[in-house]
Amino acid sequence: MDIETLAVKLNLDVKSAAGNLRKNITGGYTGDLLSDVMANAQEGNIWITRQVHQNIVAVASLKDIAGIILVNSSQPAPDTLEKAVRENIPLLVSPMNAYELSGNIFNLLAIKD
């Protein structure tokens, strides 16, 4: 499944890299501690977080993360958005909390496409 499909099914608000949503998602990782994500997220994962600071973009690009979804309708800081646009990293926003969103994505990814 790609991010485009997730965005449609879960009504996600796409903030950046709208042209880069077709990459296949390899799984997901939920976390707000950057060292944890750095060590444990896998290439191609979708990253679910409440962190809005621009450092999330550097972590996503270092880890080849497919995209970042901010929970609880958190808006990216202006610098974060600017960086995500520049580095072509999909940044999306969901009104759900991390638990609900992770559960939904887990179930969607379990379906073979």
């Binding site: 944890d36 750095m38 290439e43 270092l62």
Partner: protein, 146 residues
Amino acid sequence: MPARETEQIEFQRSFYVEGGNFDYAGIVSTSIKSILKQMELSAEVVRKSAIVSYESEINIVSYAKKGVIMLSIYADKIQIEAIDEGPGIPDIELAMQKGYSTASPQIREMGFGAGMGLFNIDSYSDKFAITSEVDKGTHLIMIINK
């Protein structure tokens, strides 16, 4: 003193890291990663190098005045060295423990300060050495086998 490295260096580059400036935090590790990727090193080597260079870069930004990260590529290994001028680490054994952190609330708010940096550097390096002098600075040597 360990014997000086006599092995042929294939590539070497140094990067300056400014303490306290989180706007560019991660830029050095991003450059290191793209150099290693261009050199067509294995995904595992690139992944481990990215983790250890990121954590050492963030520590310089978080705690030190300034520092340098040096990437050296040898025939059989990658060496990443992080040298800073800063407060140093009074108790290295304690600092290495998973969960130990002196990060300020502002730093924690950005998602840093989990106390996992040095622990992860140690576990993702094939060889790791750390020395530190209080009020002078800290010196890390991380080696990842190709």
